[in-house]
Assembly symmetry: D2
Homo-oligomer: 349 residues x 4
């Protein structure tokens, strides 16, 4: 790509915003030319107002950028990445879509909208077919595409591989989620140090519904939810990065040999159109064969790859497994960027 | 009790052994007069060879006790508590039973033996009816009674309450277990700090089978396992004390109102004979109504009480809940002591 | 004491306020009859608005108390304990003192005032002699007495013992402080999990100056700071409760034998008037002889006791040691209560 | 370098050995052709017997290598890296040196030997001048060069920069050391989770003496220790990687302006000969200006760079600062590799 596409990051000073900045440094297609923040930070240098949380330093070119307000008047890029909190996203993202921008958002505000895809390029690139209807209904020149909740992400990728080969009926899932999933300042250390919190507000509802939308099919222009039963329990654990989900799955056509399910997972390929993009994970799913893997501290180093292990037969349903996924890379900023790459490839941007 | 019963603690220098020593200090019925240890520690003062791990100090009377070998020749007490590792328990505990002692053990060596009860006084005090057959078969004057694995304990108590009222069909369970469950030195810090290990050797098998034995009934002198389906997944998490188990339960006769199940749990009473013993938990089950409880760091302070929360309807089965139990008190040494109290009450000691 | 003294706790819903409530339950002399909180909580039941953080439950009698505003008009108790944040304490505590109350505060607002004692009953009970001058200068019927910063507390108690016997010249100190010292929500878990933060705002200044005030003497009605040189560096570490301070001390008259210094510490007695109060620590200083103690997780169980270990000769100065102290009990609420007990004994209340 | 130098890693399956394997993958000068291990692992594939602890995978070429015994008969490489434990290093390393190999070791066995340099290329590359005397005295064709203890490393680099400009008199140091410094299984999680251990056996002696040797000068073929007074206290904290050392320094010629000392640190250059080697840190010292840095979890990402912050005036001595260094990269395997590169450059290999 000769000329990079200029992009803006909305809500760039927060925890997810920082991941966008970090991952977009040296991106082959996209060039961050604007960052937005709250009224408090407006007009100041990004590097001076941002409480940077990542081990790598702020990219130098971004350090000097002046923070602008989150309004389309002050930013005119064909593509914006949104790391806004949901309640702000609800108001601000439509303004950008109306003004003609492609909005790739990590916020959950529009995930339940029937014309807004929840997109994982490894899973449902064909769901961008909802975009024309979204534009028509809203009267927008641009559009909004969301990525799923960080907890839904890895789980849905693994379930997609199984669904393709064996069909899916019911899923019991228990998560052990990293503190970075709650943003910054997020979880008080007094709550989580040496502890487990067996509840995350809103998480169980999202993680039970979003996979059904992503695994659904578009029929006659309408998205039909997949008929899969979900029971999801969410826990917070003292882990910095990496969500772990323990899954028990009832399949429609279970393989006689559990080894076949394991191979299906490890050999899973993204749909053709999503395979050669800059953020495509290689492999999509890494299968660990050690008895005590995947572990979040060891298995998130590949960033975009979903890591699966302990694939084995279940006594009540058909199959059990453990999925680890990097919640702020694959499950947040990296996922949005991968979505944008797909949209470029599909000609939406 | 005017004259306390003299007791010995086998394997008294290990992590569970230390809990026995701590909990038996000032016990109204039992008086520790002997402690056993490995050849390395034999003949030395307990306080000088024991690498004490608990925040409270070693009781003064025990500090001075000479460590003796784990053989009945050197110890003649009517009751011994065993904190031996399983492979040693297999050989040593029968020697004590043969010599006439009541052996209340935390080891798993004999849990699968059809004549050895796995005993929780709140759940199955009637299972001590297996003891005469055990004696007869083995030709022992004494006998062995075990308590369950620390992970089985809290879960089985909560399930018993539900079973009594609604019957039990199937259970999905995922545990998040404390590091103290692995003893000392146990889990290397490099493995668990800021991490989750999604596997504990042998744990899933035990936690899937032991509840069925404890919830079974004795028919014609034989113990029949309860017909309950189990799927259990075990994780280790960076928590010092307190095992958390997330449960989804299919009931035989589910109540129309989930609040009834919650009340059933909170009002559960131990069988009459187990209610007024020195270690009887008050209450047996503490029901937490806060959305984010129980938490291991906050909810293990009552030691012997099982703490339950997040009782709610499930989308696939009938009921979901979270159980927290102190793994080295209720789930280990405290459980064995409570068992011994029951055996005294029943006249076996 | 036949009739307990009615007391109020200002700022009762915060982390330190909760410790006051917990420690005052069943106090032999004091009876909590009022709790104050922010405008948001006013008029509501304490138990319903307080986000309780401690493992023990809220005392039942306090659960039902209505939260009142922090103004003397709504509260008329002869003694108030203050857990207010410093900026509020600055305004509100004088109102209570003016209205006639004895204010025992954990806040730092008045620690630098020359007529306000920073009080540790084990160290400087005679500093309450400043109270009459305080009253006179301010025209108050009541008065304010503070306890030191949580980090200064344990260190000053240990230094006092050494000063009495050997004199003090210079002190190098490095702290490793628990997260509970920052209140709630306090330290974000993303900042501290698996990490060390080598800085705590304001802490080094306080911990370098407060000991000099407490170890000073009153001369002609004026408090003279002790002539001791301090270099203090503060770190935050991932520990729930218990501040650890590593000290290197230059003495005026060092003992030839370091064992003598150790004995001096372990045998230290509070001044006569402070010895038999309800909160008097027994012992004042617990000396640990193990090479790897004191440790915060193991050595804070005695609450009010200061724990010292690794007492040894230093290559540059005279003596090195490690001090552990419970920061929210001895270093905060428990310290204020002990102060109030001393003031009752001295007839100020 | 056209043909890479074949090297062996002794003790390759342990925690430090694994870091050697990781860091030597794709090294431009060195090629690992042999790995040694205990009798238990001899003859088996490295990848199958090594309990790999690092997040990146075992390099494929190394996975297949057969583990050989740690004897020079079975290995004939001109250079060996040693990750042996000290007691084995004492016996085995001389065998290799005698057989003609250059031994770059992380073990401490020979650090106190007057003819064996403790080498940091940024600090004392000229100390390799001791090698001929070592060879002569021992009658070896090869030689042994050590790197310092992981705690001495970062501290000595920062002190060297100050010494060059201002001279050094006395140093008070307190460390907060990561668990990976103790190897694997190393520190039991029950000891360190949510805790501080104020003692590490042998560490204070090493960290007080090694800097004096490295900062010493060779006079007439003999190494003279630098005349610097040290008082060092070592703590273990729950951090995975990265040792933090808090330092207070008395200088011989303190600068009037502390800012000058900060610049001296940030602009410090390694001696000419050490500047362009493959492992040369860029920069040698990274100066952090934020009030709350350096932090181990954030500031070890540059691996070989020493990170310094909180440089400020001290009330008793001249200067205070905090140093963070990656203990298993700069302080262990990476340091040995950098040493070997220097030795190649100097013609010793």
């Amino acid at each position: 790509m000769k000329n990079k596409i200029p992009v803006a990051v909305l809500g760039a000073t927060g925890a997810v915003g920082q991941r966008f900045i970090q991952l977009l440094e040296n991106h082959p297609w996209f060039d961050v030319i604007a960052v937005t923040g709250s009224a408090r930070t407006e007009g100041q240098k990004y590097g001076e107002v941002c409480r940077w949380l990542l081990p790598t330093d702020i990219p130098k070119s971004i350090f000097q950028l002046k923070v602008t307000p989150s309004f389309p008047e002050s930013i005119q890029t064909p593509l914006v990445f949104s790391a806004l909190p949901s309640e702000k996203a609800k108001i601000i993202e439509p303004l950008f879509a109306k003004a003609g921008a492609a909005v790739c958002t990590n916020a959950g505000a529009f995930r339940q909208d029937p014309h807004t895809p929840i997109l994982l390029p490894e899973v449902n690139p064909e769901h961008t077919a909802l975009i024309p209807a979204q534009r028509a209904k809203q009267g927008w020149d641009g559009f909004i595409v969301t990525n799923p909740n960080c907890t839904s992400t890895g789980m849905t990728i693994a379930l997609k591989a199984l669904k393709n080969s064996f069909g899916l009926r019911r899923v019991f899932a228990t998560s052990m989620q990293a503190i970075s999933g709650a943003g910054y300042p997020g979880v008080p250390s007094l709550d989580i140090l040496g502890n487990v919190i067996p509840y995350i507000p809103g998480e169980e509802e999202k993680a039970s519904w979003e996979p059904r939308k992503m695994l659904g099919i578009i029929n006659d222009g309408k998205l039909e939810l997949a008929e899969i039963g979900f029971s999801f329990h969410a826990n917070r654990v003292p882990v910095v990065d990496g969500h772990t989900v323990v899954l028990t799955v009832e399949l429609a056509d279970p393989p006689g040999d559990i080894g076949l399910a394991a191979r299906t997972l490890s050999e899973y390929q993204a749909p053709e159109i999503s395979r050669q993009l800059p953020s495509t994970p290689q492999p999509v799913i890494r299968l660990r064969s050690e008895a005590n893997r995947p572990q979040p501290r060891l298995d998130i180093t590949e960033g975009m790859t979903t890591v699966v292990g302990r694939v084995r037969a279940d006594d009540l349903f058909d199959l059990r497994m453990v999925v680890v996924s990097h919640n702020t890379i694959r499950g947040a900023a990296g996922g949005s960027i991968y979505n944008a790459e797909l949209l470029v490839k599909q000609g939406f941007i």
